[in-house]
Symmetry: C2
Subunit: 320 residues, 2 copies
Amino acid sequence: MRINNKCFGVDLGGTTTKIGLFNMDGTLIEKYEVPTNKKDDGIHILDDIKVFIDQVIVEKSLDSNDIIGIGLGVPGAVTDDGIVNKCINLGWNVINVESIMKEKTNFNVKVGNDANMAALGEYWKGGAAEFSSIALITIGTGIGGGIIMNGRPINGYNGAAGEIGHVSIVYDETETCNCGKKGCLEQVASASGIVRVAKKFLNATDTDSSLRGLEDISAKSVFDEAKKGDAVASEVVAYITKYLGLALANIAGVIDPECFVIGGGVSAAGQYLVDLIAASYRKNVFHPCKDTPIVLASLGNDAGMYGAAKLVIDASKNEQ
Amino acid sequence: MRINNKCFGVDLGGTTTKIGLFNMDGTLIEKYEVPTNKKDDGIHILDDIKVFIDQVIVEKSLDSNDIIGIGLGVPGAVTDDGIVNKCINLGWNVINVESIMKEKTNFNVKVGNDANMAALGEYWKGGAAEFSSIALITIGTGIGGGIIMNGRPINGYNGAAGEIGHVSIVYDETETCNCGKKGCLEQVASASGIVRVAKKFLNATDTDSSLRGLEDISAKSVFDEAKKGDAVASEVVAYITKYLGLALANIAGVIDPECFVIGGGVSAAGQYLVDLIAASYRKNVFHPCKDTPIVLASLGNDAGMYGAAKLVIDASKNEQ
């Protein structure tokens, strides 16, 4: 490996694209954020990234020969051979992003699902840096997840591995999830799911609650009020963490990871959230996995960039 | 590879030990079955296997240099480095079976969990031979399972990957599972679980059922009567296959395998069982995984031997 080797880690989101320039040891040299241009069914997106990266190379006076490649996380299902399977958020149909981007840039390109890249980032430089097999669950607007086994992301045959948000877990759910099913984890434990559950619980009871005085209830306000001892908010938090713990226990029954990582916006609720999830997990998991640590993610919104960089670095090592 | 290369695949069970002599292409040359001697906390078990294998080598006039090694499936949790973690069935505490057996025999030895070996066997030469990533679920006295990702068994950090029998899935279960939890899949869908559910359903209703006339209700009789249209037996089968389908959908949400394989004694109920599991699976799974095939295992009780042989063959290739 040349001493000046560098790579780009790109986290392609529905609204913005994050581009990071990394050293091979995982030092983030510089990060950039640009709007994602979704016009014309997203046909400009990859060109925009290419042009931006070319600019960075010029501005930073980098030698193209020192760039080992571009890692790219996309918000959709990705198979092992880099084919992206209908990225609805971006307007894409089924396309081989890896080969298209390789051709455009002449760099080595590796593509992964954004949640898997976040998991790889947390595994490499984040909350799970001391572990080798992890399951990340990101609790944000939706619920996503990524599985890393022995340092490699698991994509799944249909690119749907780690889609923990859509396991059927609430048997008495009456409303339908965005995905068309009923009873998905995302329906109760995502940021919007938590608000939905809170409103349902408030409507079902006359119990006093500081949540009733709020103009807008958010996942954050539910956790804030629960921490202060509000009865209804505490009930909501108990309900959603019961299912999160159950979901983690189910994951353990399949792959028995060394560690669980909790990320996404809702994880700002911190150790309080982790402790409640852990209590439900330990109650529901098969005994050999009782002591598996559950930790908080630490890279925030940069995790996907880090993971994408790691993906292309690992690929370049395998090719040597 | 020498043309005469062979290996042994051993499936070490609590009652009997199956020993198979294999060609490298997976042809089973000869199989043997010997009682497992569990006396003195199972201290004689590995010696017995060594002595038996030595005899076979002499009887078959084999050249020891042609034997590439011994694969060994054991009924307990096995970590990636071949350590067996308390095999209660055999009387074993925590021991490194791989290194002990290597020393005894001077052969290369690889050790895996018996359910994982069965999965590897079905992947190699059985019902899933055309797929590369599979989840096997064995429905017998208990429920076990094994995960193969890209041709390799997943052991899990605590050797507990694929322990599908102990995912918490029946939320209103009142009785306690052998493992100490409540609501495990094994409690309703194993052979004994099916009988337990049948008795419960029969007690809860006055509905006529041919099951009432039977001296002993078995999982087989429940399926036989359900196939004939018996109302209570059909209800029991609907109940247990609902949970089996849910469990498979949960597995898909974690690893999204290319194929599911159903094995174990209860799988004798055949395509009828598979179709009912598939109906529940397709209802509960995230849409990208809707078409994942569910097939029957085909190697029966030999699957573990085949998988153990495959494990040591793969290890010998990696060392070349």
